[in-house]
Every structure is written in C-alpha cells, then in structure tokens.
C-alpha cells in the first residue's frame, strides 16, 4: 500500500487522500462492503468498531459503535448516498445514539472512489467535517490508542 497524496484544507475542514493497493478493485471494495472486514480496519485494535446495521444501498442507514478500552460505547451512523459497486460510495456521517438516531444536525461527508491503476487499485477518499468541534470529538475516539501505539513503538526502538 502506498499513500500517494494527502491534502488537508484547514478552512474547508477536508482531507483528501489517494492510496494505491496491490489488490484488485473487488477486493478493496469488499473491505467496505463486508461489515466483518470493515470492522477489522475502521477502528484501531483496542478501540474496535462493531457494525450493527450495514447495508450499502442508497438511502440505507448504517449504524456502528466503537468500544473504548474502558468498555464505553460511542455510537455513529452513516446514511448511504450513492453506491456504484465496486467503484464508488458517498456517505453522510455523524454521531448517534444506540438506535442510530442522529445526535447532531450537522453531518460530515465521505466520498470514496476506486479504480484500476497500475495492475492494482487506486482509492481516492474525500473526508469533510461540518465543524471543528465535531472533528475533535470524533478524533477522541481512538486517539488514546494512537498515543499508546506511538509509545509502544518507542519502546521497541529503545
């Protein structure tokens, strides 16, 4: 896997990235389309994501929660916009309660496109947040883990 570009816009609160995988488009699509595969990469190992409802059809509501190391559950939801299997997906996302009811009226947008490139797959991703507050809140999920991993890596180097 190679991250080709990452662009960050502090005004629009967007992150755009391009990454190349040495795998066919169908295999990369399955990482999004199969909830059990999705769970293995969406959240960090000690802040894992569990997808409760998962259906990639336009208008469908996908619900998930992330479990903190202390056992607290943080619920989130996706509202599926457009689906062009296995090449593209648009998602509206936000925080929710256990029933998938949105907790905020502001939502983010995630756009993902896959296409064949150099015998593998190129993934283009556009992640937009509605507000700085929501972005910081989302990032708190898994941040501890990021720090822990960084410390763990330091230990490995010492």
């Amino acid at each position: 896997m190679t991250v080709t570009t990452i662009d960050k816009d502090t005004e629009a609160l967007t992150l755009t990235l391009v990454a190349d995988f040495a795998a066919p488009v169908d295999a990369v699509w399955e990482l999004w389309a199969d909830p059990r595969k999705l769970e293995r990469w969406w959240g960090p190992p000690t802040y894992p994501a569990t997808f409760v409802e998962h259906d990639l059809t336009p208008g469908a509501l996908v619900t998930y929660f992330m479990t903190s190391p202390e056992g607290n559950k943080h619920y989130g939801w996706w509202r599926i916009g457009t689906v062009d299997a296995p090449h593209g997906l648009t998602i509206e996302d936000g925080f929710g309660d256990a029933d998938g009811n949105p907790l905020t009226d502001k939502t983010g947008q995630l756009r993902m496109r896959l296409f064949e490139h150099d015998g593998g797959t190129r993934m283009e991703l556009h992640d937009q947040f509605p507000s700085l507050e929501q972005m910081e809140e989302m990032l708190e999920m898994g941040m501890e883990e990021g720090l822990r991993q960084a410390v763990g890596q330091m230990d490995g180097l010492l």
């Binding site: 990452i6 502090t10 990482l31 595969k37 990469w41 991703l125 947040f129 972005m135 910081e136 990021g146």
Partner: protein, 117 residues
C-alpha cells in the same frame, strides 16, 4: 496557549506574508473583528483582486481564516482557530494512515474461509 511546531516551509510562508506593509496592515485591521474582503479593500489604493491576493497569502501562512457569510467572504486574524484545525486534520491524517495500513493488512490476509470451488 499551545502553539504547533511549524515546519520550515510554514515558517517561510509566515515570514513571507509578514514581509509586506499592506499585509501587516490587513492583519491589524482583521484582528479587530471580522471584515469582508471588500470592506478591507476599501482602505487601500489598489484593486479588489490585489487585496484578495494579499488575503490569500495571509491565509496560506495560517495567519487569517476566511469564512463565507452569505455572499461575502469574512476575514479574521485567528491563528488559534487555524492551529486547532491543523492539529485536528493532522490527527485525522494519522487516523486514515492507520486505517490504510490495516486495509492493506486485510488484503494480504489469505482467504481463511477457503475457496467455494
């Protein structure tokens, strides 16, 4: 106040932005409150487009933020907000880099379900 560590390139952009009298003046005026680009442009004997370019240089240096308000672009001197946004985006980048790594790990995992033949 916590200030992010700036890279060499970011420091260059800040000093370049501050090395111009008009831009320093724009910073002072925008610090008093949110002003539209056209209101800011009123104070100078130069074109709206020229002022807009100066504002863009300040924006790239992270010294002002721009917000759309109706049809107007409001300019505000707000390094803290920009630093917060940058820090959040840096964390988001780290999150996505970790996710991409795990995605690649999944793709390398042999199919343990077995082939359905």
């Amino acid at each position: 106040m916590v200030v992010d560590q700036l890279t060499e390139a970011e420091i260059d952009r800040v000093f370049h932005a501050l090395a111009d009298a008009t831009r320093r003046d724009l910073l002072r005026r925008a610090a008093d409150g949110e002003l539209s680009v056209s209101r800011l442009a009123d104070g100078y004997d130069m074109s709206f487009a020229a002022v807009q370019k100066h504002v863009a240089v300040l924006g790239r240096a992270g010294l002002v933020t721009k917000a759309r308000h109706g049809r107007e672009q409001l300019v505000r001197t707000d390094p803290v907000a920009v630093a917060r946004a940058r820090r959040a985006l840096d964390a988001l980048e780290a999150t996505w880099r970790e996710r991409l790594g795990r995605m690649a790990d999944q793709l390398d995992t042999p199919n343990t379900q077995g082939d359905p033949r």
